[in-house]
Every structure is written in structure tokens, then in C-alpha cells.
Symmetry: D3
Amino acid sequence: MRWDVVGFGEAMLRLAVPTGERLETTKQLEVGIGGAEANVLIALARLGRRTAWSSVLPRNTLGERIARELAWHGVDTSLIHWTDEGRVGVYFLDVGVPPRPTVVLYDRAGSVVAHVDPLVFPVEWVSESRWLHATGITPALSSGCRAVLARLVERACQSGVGVSFDVNYRSRLWSPEEAARTLEWFCRQATVLLCGEDDARLLWGLSGDGEAVAHALSTRFGAAMTVVTRGEHGAVATTADGRTVIVPGRAATVVDRVGAGDAFAAGFLHGYLDTGDVERGLQYGVALAALKLTVRGDLAIVTAEELESAVAAARRTILR
Amino acid sequence: MRWDVVGFGEAMLRLAVPTGERLETTKQLEVGIGGAEANVLIALARLGRRTAWSSVLPRNTLGERIARELAWHGVDTSLIHWTDEGRVGVYFLDVGVPPRPTVVLYDRAGSVVAHVDPLVFPVEWVSESRWLHATGITPALSSGCRAVLARLVERACQSGVGVSFDVNYRSRLWSPEEAARTLEWFCRQATVLLCGEDDARLLWGLSGDGEAVAHALSTRFGAAMTVVTRGEHGAVATTADGRTVIVPGRAATVVDRVGAGDAFAAGFLHGYLDTGDVERGLQYGVALAALKLTVRGDLAIVTAEELESAVAAARRTILR
Amino acid sequence: MRWDVVGFGEAMLRLAVPTGERLETTKQLEVGIGGAEANVLIALARLGRRTAWSSVLPRNTLGERIARELAWHGVDTSLIHWTDEGRVGVYFLDVGVPPRPTVVLYDRAGSVVAHVDPLVFPVEWVSESRWLHATGITPALSSGCRAVLARLVERACQSGVGVSFDVNYRSRLWSPEEAARTLEWFCRQATVLLCGEDDARLLWGLSGDGEAVAHALSTRFGAAMTVVTRGEHGAVATTADGRTVIVPGRAATVVDRVGAGDAFAAGFLHGYLDTGDVERGLQYGVALAALKLTVRGDLAIVTAEELESAVAAARRTILR
Amino acid sequence: MRWDVVGFGEAMLRLAVPTGERLETTKQLEVGIGGAEANVLIALARLGRRTAWSSVLPRNTLGERIARELAWHGVDTSLIHWTDEGRVGVYFLDVGVPPRPTVVLYDRAGSVVAHVDPLVFPVEWVSESRWLHATGITPALSSGCRAVLARLVERACQSGVGVSFDVNYRSRLWSPEEAARTLEWFCRQATVLLCGEDDARLLWGLSGDGEAVAHALSTRFGAAMTVVTRGEHGAVATTADGRTVIVPGRAATVVDRVGAGDAFAAGFLHGYLDTGDVERGLQYGVALAALKLTVRGDLAIVTAEELESAVAAARRTILR
Amino acid sequence: MRWDVVGFGEAMLRLAVPTGERLETTKQLEVGIGGAEANVLIALARLGRRTAWSSVLPRNTLGERIARELAWHGVDTSLIHWTDEGRVGVYFLDVGVPPRPTVVLYDRAGSVVAHVDPLVFPVEWVSESRWLHATGITPALSSGCRAVLARLVERACQSGVGVSFDVNYRSRLWSPEEAARTLEWFCRQATVLLCGEDDARLLWGLSGDGEAVAHALSTRFGAAMTVVTRGEHGAVATTADGRTVIVPGRAATVVDRVGAGDAFAAGFLHGYLDTGDVERGLQYGVALAALKLTVRGDLAIVTAEELESAVAAARRTILR
Amino acid sequence: MRWDVVGFGEAMLRLAVPTGERLETTKQLEVGIGGAEANVLIALARLGRRTAWSSVLPRNTLGERIARELAWHGVDTSLIHWTDEGRVGVYFLDVGVPPRPTVVLYDRAGSVVAHVDPLVFPVEWVSESRWLHATGITPALSSGCRAVLARLVERACQSGVGVSFDVNYRSRLWSPEEAARTLEWFCRQATVLLCGEDDARLLWGLSGDGEAVAHALSTRFGAAMTVVTRGEHGAVATTADGRTVIVPGRAATVVDRVGAGDAFAAGFLHGYLDTGDVERGLQYGVALAALKLTVRGDLAIVTAEELESAVAAARRTILR
């Protein structure tokens, strides 16, 4: 196997307002990159996994910046398709402090990846990986993105490559109805289905405690493993055979919320992949998400050693 | 009516130490402006109200900076009186983090507005507004400022313009005795009297819970509406006919405390002015104050939309 | 007359790399705004002229930021048309230091002003101004922009409003041929035609010294006043009756080149408008451009007093 | 007496990552200095005590920076021995936010003070002070440092100079066994012995509540005063005659943890020295440590006035 | 002798705009201190001279900051008189880049030193120094300052202490006529008289080349040594017996002009004091001024070694 | 061939003072990396060459930072040998502005690469590259480094791999005599010998104009190509058969001098390698060095496109 985990999606330029400032008046923006799949693959690469990210980028300074940042963190960027024209998406982050919410101003319409041609975009590389990580953002970007992702998932399933699918509903991109309809198919293909509590309610009207939601999703989509994330309240997983594991959340001083869900997904995969141990997966997911909250930027710039001791510390403080 | 709310007072240059630094050793100061009345009028203008600020400023870069910042936020600056000589006041903020208090080093003595000549300074413009907002800081600046404000309040009362008066005792400017004596008259003229719990105790020896203090102030000064602010504990209002409304405070991660009281006043007026609904006033006041605490600077750089959703969120979490 | 000078065009968010850094690796971007017409109107407003800027902006934080910055500098923003949807253009500036050129990465395609509907967009306000300033960028943005500008110029000519037209060829927006063809009509309507030496060569193949170029442009388009700008080498003006005035350039330590041409245009109009004195116009233009070069950002943040003494200083050092 | 308190040890260049950034990716480091003894002496000098710091520094810019910073805060630097060669130690601080711990990357091996020659380094100056403050870090640096400190302590005891010894175990410098063996002698000489709860467990296997640990240490080493620090839980002191005083911790918003222990030691000495009042010592120690937590850097940049009001405020909120 | 050079005057808080920004719009100000005499004494202390600065400062954070910064650089601050009330002067620097001049906005009226009481302020300490450095700014601050400086100069002359007097005319403080009248006496007492070419013209109408001006000043005031500074053109000195030495200026990339004149004075004294060698004095003065131009802030943060090699380099490039 | 160019040497953490600040007083340091061979390989990788860097790094955050930065720019880091212990070298840059020189404070003694064991360190990889770039710094670090480099050069020569050797004398590391003696052998093996004019004088007493120095070096060491760099005056190359090519320097606004020599070497190799065209090599070298001067940091963060147009622009302005 050439890679442990691969993914396809969009990465954007992230322009964030310094803490306490507002986008309307700030004189400085902090520059970074972000994108759900890229965030997960970067976090995994930093933890020692071989990962590769596939996407489309324009051959300009911003496109190169995105690719180089992935390379810094150790992600293989050879799958990127480069174009002469087109733009990268940009998002402006008015980073909030409670009770003021973080406001995201997306300027991603017409980004180059949305124009991807699904008929010619290569997908065979997915067979060279142990695992494919996908999110519900990519199908929302364009019909081309949707088709490419569907082909990747299909091929992964055919080749015995595991698929994790993180629902990740984005209300600025489509309606809950449209999302529910489109994502249904993807959810059904997933080996591991990840879904936030709020998304389960918005898309499929599922409510109740985390456990109930996990069971409902498990029943509905039949994933081998269904994981419901509950923000600061931790996460719940249900296996296809009905076993449930609950891991509580961890208190953290929040420096930057954005990317915490992706850090959870990366931590879960890191803890789960080699062992198939769900509890371990949840523990790593919760710990990596908590560490991510303390770092500016979308990325979980965390070492394997830091993650291990955070998990160990959490184990010491949990009574069973 | 030309304006919704007008005010007269001092605005100063605000020079703030970055979080965690001290004034003694910092190499950088963050530049802004602030002043009780200006803060209120700016917040209201941002929420869509037509406001104007009257003051005296010198024709130098710092004077112009103050006026231009008001214009940025939409406050009408045509009432400012410009002089060839004189200085603007400056205050240095050693922004604290609990348990270290914020320390303010005022350098406002001899600022140009303190030299205002009450005999020639125009006041007739107050009749063109629905409302006059005044604070207890202005009478403390000089006898000239006191006289101008008295003339404005008088004229407002004669013209049927509503008057809100925020006691705002400043111990660096005068003693509690002198303040109590001087502010008595202003408090008696107010349609809406705003007073912090601590100020009520220091100036008039009023103690007890917020409700008791509100009643005592109401009895003493006879305002149509008396509002007692209690910091993180919320606010209490008593109408002249003895009805009392209590709104609890809101938890907030404090980035900068300065200006929160002014944000409360602005929020209160915004919620109260059109409807005469006291509870709505308190809710908007508490919400805007909480949002202000999350923003660096004296100013409540908050949109009407953000305020509305903060109020709505608070309503959802309050049991009655 | 309600205004001295008005204009219509696009203003964008300007994101600039700190000096010595590169866009690929910088962690910070400096935020500002810029746009040829807006730059000119801001500079003129700061010098005491009543100016107004017309454009289309989306009702989001970036749209409001642009409008508020214009208000800070004193430009009337009541002509702006606000939309619920759409984006503002963005440009990234990799600010150069010789011999490294400044690189501009435009991300302006699909900005909201390009979608302007010329049939419904109001133009009658141009008659309330003494002068209209237009540039060759606006017709390049979209057919809608071209049509709006044409209607404005037409109406200005009908109402006796003076028109300055700054050619401002942008190679990223269209080819020299298309620009030459389209701008021909606008150049013919101009009372004052401004054109950079390089643009004259690229669009109309005019070469030779500045004087020759000015004469050729004057002959071709017949403007009452034709001004050729020559960067650090100053500027040349030719009147319709063939009189030529030359003003040499001024040495400046370059902090930021962007916006210097707009500062020249503003300075020229400021010096020329009241007196019709060409030499005075050129002197003010050259001086304001030189001062602009010393300030970060597109905008000539310069006071009337500073401009006057720069002009006076230049006069003292020029031998005739 | 020439000085109130003196000390000998290492001060290093402190290079700290901005909050929310990581050492791996940050583009900026904040520069300061730090060192256990220097931190204590600086805090005491700022509170009005005459203090002097003895050490070895190289005559280069970094050595001079360390000495000048001590002079800024009022510490006498005339005891520093200057060398032509050698380096200052450096430590990189990846400042943490819970649950991410602060990570210190020391680069102090081979620093100039470790090469001190104990046979020629002067120690007689200790007799000119009322008090000597020493820590368990210095003996860990080199055999030379250990010998110099031993000679200083010996001479202090002979001259009736009080000695405070803060155990301060550093796991990156030596093993618990080696530290326990070496520090034994120093602990026995101390008039005031300060020890963190964790260090007591690691070095001497002492556990139980703070009081039990304090008694055990008191019995073992026989100091006139034994103080056990318990981080956010406050501190406990036991006198040689078995009297115990407990002072609870103070809540603080943590900006920077590093140096809080040294601030405690300085506060304790400041409160204790003139009066011999243990409770006062603990109160000042706890208050100064809490204030230090709110300031970036190793140093307790706090005024005597701020410390007094923090102590007074704490007294008001403690029920007995 | 206790000190090599002493001085009396005002030091202010210096708040400077970052390069390329303007005071009207900057969000950040760089904090420093400055004052003609303090600048000279700091530069000399850094070069190894024992210096002391006398002044009046208020016991607040800004006053302490000024004193501590002097201590950092090694100046003895024990002569400072501390008051409970009063303010320090502040100046705002809109740092210019050619052709935009640096604009200074002084806010120094009513600073505490201006209220000095000349009858009680001690002056006897001047006898303990080899040299007194005075400037023409101090007599302009108030009659009290003038009287204190006069008493210091008198006592210096009586005690055989050398006096350097730097004319330093400040047009914002007084008219040329008043300055010329008042400074006459001081100039006559000076052992070394320093005067800028422009000041000589403005105050005493002296023009011609530097040599002619130096002779005229020498004749008029009779100083043992008269030095005329000519900015980038270097300096000229004339001894009482008519010998003239000319040293050309040095090219420098200007980072910050403010304080260059004070650096010249410090360099001159450093080169001249021990040897009485005028040429050496001028060389050190010119070199230190050039080095100062490359450093942000009023202060010549330069080491003796750097100054020596700059002087040596200049000697190598001068043909005689 | 696996790589175009490879190299072995030390890369350090670079901590630079912001322009106009001094190391003694700055509160911020800019973080980067640098090292002669790494700088060259990074520049070449950015221009599209396949390069690899061999060295020893400790497995800590600073070691990883260095490797990741190389990966960002596209250099293959698989040849790095990782150790559990040891430190990376650090250098502090007091960036100068004329006439103040840049001061480098090295803290590189005992860095991990100096402890390399030449008997076990692998060198066979050099045969997989077209070219080896070496510098005279590496042999100065330790006998181990010298031996490793000698083995690499030997193997390169045996395998027909071209060798460029840049003399790069560092006076802080060894004396001219020792350097001349040691480097003699390396110079004799070089296919391309690069040497600065100053180094040729200091090490081998060669003076005269650049051409004379190049001939003397060529005669002495017999390299196929000898290149003498002359800073702002350009460069001269002499082939073994006595043909000489001279390329003049290029004016540049200097933002940061450090790394310009390495940029020259990289540019030379880039222009020379495929064509063997000396003049082209010199032109690319001079152009890349000039572009590097405009960028903060050791690295030539320049695109191939920017280099090509700089070379083209230079060709247009050179008369032959």
C-alpha cells in the first residue's frame, strides 16, 4: 500500500481576524489554509500516517501556497491536478469569543475545484490506499465534485479500501433537504460514518441523546461503525452489531474552534485504524479535538507524543 | 426629527497595552478612541439609529482622528466645534486579566473640551433630536462642560426631548460628595436614569439588592424609568409607578471590559426607544454589553443582526 | 452644486504582504481598500473637496468596510447601491522592492459591480456635480459597467459637467486592442484626458518623448486638456490650442507604488479645477503622487497642508 | 547592610511562542529573560527591596541584555562576573493553553555559568546581605555551580544571613535520585525551605495532603520555616515548633504559568522578612503568584501597590 | 569625580507611527522615550561614560518607565526628583520618508518638570561631575526650568566643570526672537557651543558656509570650542584661537531621523573629552549620528565597538 | 539520476531582529532557518530542480522545523540523519542598515551535525545525483564534518558527479591560515570553484581586479570553471582554458543581505548546469542574488518566472 489514508476535496485560503478584533475594522489578517479533508490528512500525516490529498489547484501563488503547506506537514501532494486558470476559494474568519459566535464569510463560489471534469479526473489511485476519508462538503461544491467523489467511493468499495464519511453539513452551500437527499448515497457506502449531533437533527430530524442518534443513523445507513460527535460533550459510537461506546468531552480553553471536527475525525482514524478498537478511536478523537482547540488555525499542529500523553491523561481522569 | 439620539461630551485617544503586557514595559500600544457619550452614539449608529455627537476638538491629527472614527461608524459629526489650539485627552489602559484589575492612567487634564465657553456654545440643535443621552462624566470635566450640559438638558426638557442620564461616577475626577451634589440636579431631569450599583452606594449610600437600590433611586429622583446596572449580574429597572423588571447577566469571555457600561446604555435605548418596553430595553442592554466584552476597544463593534440573535438566544435560555 | 467631483467604479479589498515578505509564505496580510475612482475621490475629499462615489456593494462585512472607509475620509457614500448577494473583488499585493516588481494577484472576477444592470442603475445624480472622474478600468469590468459609465459620461456632457478620463489600461482585464477600441469613445468625451506614457504606446502605438505623446493624444481625441504621466519623470500637459507644460518628477523613497497614479489624478484636479491653471495642476499632481509613494496602501492619506508645503518646496527647487 | 536579598544562579534568554501558535510554525518569538533566582530578585526589587544578582555572563549582546533587564527592574548587577567567551543559555517556550501543556525546549548545556571556577569565584559579598535566596536548579547545572552555591550558603550561615532554599526540581537536568542526594545538604542549611508538592513526592516520596508533606519536610530537614506550595490550591507552612498555617489559592486567568513559583517565593519573602509573620508571607506569596500568572514573561511585573491591594482583596474574601 | 557628564532637562514618552503608516489611521504606536539631554546621556553611558540625568518625574507608570529606561542604558537616575502629582510630556511622531517630512505632534504643555521650583531644586551635584551638558530646549519649557539650568551652569563654571550647550531651537516652544534673547547668556557660558546651521540663521541671522557660521558664533559668544552641525553635510568646529576643522557627513539609510543631533553631541563629547582633539570629536559625532539614523527611536543604541569601527571605516575613506 | 543537485552541511535556526531594532532591546525575533548548502538547494528546488539535503538533526521541534521548511520549498529531506540527542545551531541577526553593518551572533558550537561520525555516515547517495554543491563552512565545523565532506567529494569525483565548491570563509569559525590550509584540497577537486573577492585576499593574499583574482585562483586550483563574486559589483568567471566572462552587478534595495551569496551560487548553477554557458550562469547568479536582497530571510523565495524576467530585464539594459 502506498498510502494509509487519502482524500479528495477543496482547500481554501483562510484569512482570520486576530482575537478581539472584528473583520470590519481589523488592519491585519492571519493567513493560513483549511479544508475539511486536507485538515484531516494533515493531522494524520503529522501523527506518522502516510496520506495524500487530491484536488484541483490553479498554478498561482495561492495555489502553490496551499500545496506547500500540505507538504510541510508531510502530506503527499503528487495527486493534485494543476490548472493554468482559476481561483482558490477564500474564507474570512471573524473569530468569536463567547457569547459572540465565530462568523465565517465564505468567498468560495467559482473556485477551480468546483469546475473539475469528473469524466477525466483520475480516481484509480484510491486503490493504492488503505483508507479513503470523505466529507459531505465536497458533494455540495458542484456536480463535478459530487461525481468525482462518488467515483472515488465506488472504486474504494470495489477495491476493499475502507471509507470514512463525515457528514459535515454546510448551510451556506445547500439546503438541509438537498443535502439529505444527496448525502444519503454516500452515507450508505461508508465503513465509518461520522456525523455531528446537530447535522443529524437538521438533515434527518434525528433527536434524543447521542446514543439514540447514533443508533438511528446506524439503522438508517448501516455503516460498520457510526460515530456521533457532540462537541464539548464528547462522542458516541455504535457498531453495526449494536454495541455502543461513549467517551465524554474534554474541557479546553478555546483559542480557535474551526477545524476541531476534522481533528476529531483524524484522531478517531488514528486510534481506530490499526486496532479496530472503537473506544480507542473515540479517545484519540476527543483528545485531538481538544488539543486543536488550543491552536490558532484550522490545523491540528500536534505531535504524536502530545496526543499520546493527552489520551493517557484523560484515561487517568475517567472513572469507569 | 433630524436625529434619534444626540449627546455632548469628551472623546479621548485610547492607548491600550496588548493583553498580558504591562504599560511599564510594552513596546506597542493599540490606538483607538473612547468617551462615554461617543461610545453610546457609535453603538446606536451601528444599529441603524441616526445619532450626532457634539463636542470641542482641536484641528490637529488627533482631533481629526476622533471625528473620522465617529464618521466611520455613522455618527453625524457636524455638531463638533473645532478650535485652532488645545489638546485632546489621552488615556493609557493597562488592560487587566483577573485577578489583576485594568488600570487606567488618565492624561485628560486641560483637554480642549474642558475650556468650552458655555455662553457661546450652541445648544439649540438638541431640539432637533428625539433623545439626548448624557453622562455624569461631562459635568466633572469643568464648570464650562457642566454649564453646557445643563443648558442642553434644560432645552431638551423644554422641547419634549427625552433625556437619559448615566451617573458614571469617576473617582479620578472628583470626590463622591462633590459628584453627588452636582449630579443631583441632572438626575432629577432624567426621563431614564441609569446608575451602577457601586455608584449608587458611593454617591448616595444606597445598598441592598439591585431592586432595593432601583426603588430608592426612583423615589429620590423621580425618573420615569430608573435602571440599575449590576455588571455580570445583569440589570434591574423600576418605573415611576413602581413596576420592576429584572434581567440576569450573561456569561462572557472578557477581552476588554472598558465600554461595557456604555454598550449597556446603547442597547437599552435601542430596545426601549420605539416600544417603551422596559424588559426589551434591559435584554438589549445586557446582550450588547456582553457582546462588547468580547471586542477590543471601547466601542461595541456589533451588527444589528448579531445583537438580535444574541437577544433571541438569551430569551431561549431564560426560564420564566 | 451638491458635489465637486463624483465617480463610478469598483473598489476592492486590498490584502498586502508586509515589506520584504512574500505572498507564498507570509503569515500576515495588511487589510485596506482600493479602486482607481475611489482612490481619487478619497484623496480629493481629504483635501477639502465634496466628493461622492457610486458603485454596487453587497451587504456583508466586506462591502460595509469599503463604504465605511470612504466615509472615514469624507466621501459621500449615499450613491452606493446595496445588494443582498454577491461578492467584493479582492486583490493580493506582493509588494516589491527594486529590482523585484510588485506583483498583483487579482481575484475580482464576478464581483458584484460587474453584474450592474445599466438599464435601471441611476445616473441622473451626475448632474448635481461640477465634475465627473472616470477611468478605463470600469469599462473593462463588464458590459454593464461599460454601459453605466457611458450613460454617466453622456449625461455629464449634456449637463455641462466636466469629465476627466484616466486611461489606466489593465492587461489582466483585456487586450490592448479591445481596450483601445472600447476606450476610444470615452477618450473623445473627456474634458481632461489623463494617460500614462506606457498605455499610450500599448494602446495606440504612440511613442517619442512625453511632449510628442501628449500632442498625438491631443490631436487624436481632442480633449481640452491632455495630460501624459511619466512616473518618476513627471508629467506633460497639452491644451487643445497646443500649449504645452512640463513638470519634472520628484524623488521619493518608495514605500508603496500602488495608487500613485490615482494620487496624481486627484492632485491634478485639485490644482486645476478652480483656476484652470495647467501648471498648477501638474505641480499638485506630481507632489501628491510623490507623497503617496511614502504611505502604505492605495490611499493618499495626506493633508491639504502637507500637499501645499510639498508644492511650495518643489517650486523653490525648480529653476526656470 | 548593603542588600536585603541576594542570589546566585543562571539567567537565560527566553524565547516564547505567541499564544495559540506553535514553536514548529511560528514566525515570531517574544524575547525576554528568565532564571529562578533572577526572577525572585527582580520581583523583590520591584517591591522596593535592595537586591543583587550574582552570576557569570559573556560580554556579548545577549549577556548584556540579561544584565540590563535586571538593571531596568532595579536589581544591582555589580556582582556579575563577565567573561570574554561563552554563551548564555536559551529556552524556547511553546506556551500552552489547557489541556495543552506548556512545553519548554531547553538549550542551556554549556552555558557560561556552568563553567564557573568555584575556587576563584568570590563569595564574601553574601555577608553584606540580610538574606540569601537559593534554588535547587543551580546545583544541577554543574559541579562548579554546586560548589559555588555551597560556599555561599556556608558563608551565609556563618555570617547569620538567612537562607531560603527553593527545591525546584528540574527533570531535564537530573534524575530524582541524584537531585535528592545532592539537595539534601542544601535543604538542611535553609532557614526557609520552599518545596512544591510534586517535588516532595518525586524526590522524597512524600505524599498526603499539603500539611502532612510540610510536616514531613520539616521533620526531615529541620528548617525554621517549611513552605509547601500547591499551585492553584495555595500553600502551607510549618514552623520548626510545629505550628501550621494554610492559605488557599487564588483563581486567575492564566496568561503565562512560567515564573509563578518564583513569584510565590518573592512574595513570601516580601511578606515574611520584616515581620516573621508566616501567614502574611503566604498571603503575599499566593497573591504575587496569582498576579504573575496574568503577565506574559517569567517576571512578576507588578507594583507594590498592586500587590497590597490584591492581598487586601483576598483577605476580605476569606472567611475564618 | 562621581560622573563624567551630567544633565538636566525633560524626557517624554515617545509614541511613533510605524514606517509608511500615518498617525491619523495607524492602529499601533511604538512606545519609547526621548529628550535631548537624556538622549545624550544615554548614548554616553552606553559608550562607557558615567552619566547622571536630573529632572522631575511623577510617580506613575509613565514616570517610572522613563527612569527605568535610563537605568537600562546605564544612566544614574538617583538625581531625579519624584512628585506625587503631575504628568509626563508626550510626543506623537508621524515618521516621514522623503519627500514627506517627519511630523511631531507635541503634547508637552504642563508637564511636571515645567513646574520645577528653582529655589528649592538642588544643583550642588553638578560639582561632582567633570562635565555638564545642556540644551536650549530646557530654558524654553518654563521660567522654572530656565532658572534651574542657569543655576546649574553658574555652579558648573564656578567649579571648573566644563559646559557644553546645544542651541536646539524648537519653534513650537518659542519665537526665534525670544529664544535668541534668552539663550544668549547660556551660549556665553559654554565651554563647547553646539549649534545647527539652520538655528544659527533663524536666531542670529548668520548665514554663509559652515565655516563662516562657526567663526561668527565663535566671535559672538567666545566659546573655547564652537561646533556647527550641518546634517548630512557633516560638521565644522572653530576653536577660540581661530583654528577650524571640517568633517564631512556620512551617507546613511535613514530609519529614524529623530535624535541624530543628540547622537552627534554625545559622539563629539565622547571623542573630545579625554583628548581635547577637535577632529576626533567631530569624527565620533558624525559617526554616531549616522549610526543613530539607522535605529528606530530617539536613542543611539550603539556599542563602543560599533562606533569605533564606524570611525575607523570613515577614516579609511577620507582623503587628506 | 535521482537528483539534480545534492549537498551536505548545517542548517540553523535563524532569529532576526526587525529592521531598525537592535538585538539588545527588541521584544520580537523573526524565526527562520538558514545554512549555506540548504539555502542553495532550496533556491534550486524552487526553480524546478530536484535537490536533496543531507545533514544531522535532532528529533526535537527545532530539528523538525528545519526539515519541514526544506520540504515546503520542495527539497528532498530523506537523506537527513535523525538523532535522539543534541541541539541545532542558532544564530541571532542584528540586521543592519548602511552604514551600520549586519551583526551575526552565532550560537552554533556543539550543534549535532558537528558530532557526525564520518566512519558510519552514509555517502553513497552522492552518486545518484548529477551534481554536488559544497561550501567551505562545513569543513570548519568539526573534523567529523570535514571528513564526511571529503568522502562525499571523493565519491562524487569517482562517479563523475560535478562538484561546485563555494569557499565561504567564516572568520568566527577558524583563522585564515587554517582555512587556507584545509580548503586547498577541496578547491582542487572542484569542477566549479566559487570564491568571494574578499575571501581570495584573506586566504590566499590574492588582490587586483576581479579578473586577476579569477585567473590566479584558476591557475592555483585548476577548476574547470572559477567564479569570483564581487558583491554589488557583479561576478567574473574564468574557464580552465583562460576565457573570461564578466557580468556587472545589479542595483537593489537591500532588505536583507544574508543569503545573497548562496542565491548567487544557486542562480549560477541553475543557468549553467544544462548549457555549460558561463555567461548565462553569471547572469542568473547575479539576478537571483539581487532578487534575494529584497526578501527577508536567508532564502531566495523567488519563482522561476520572476528570475527569468529579471534576467531578461538585465539583458535589455546591458550594452555590449
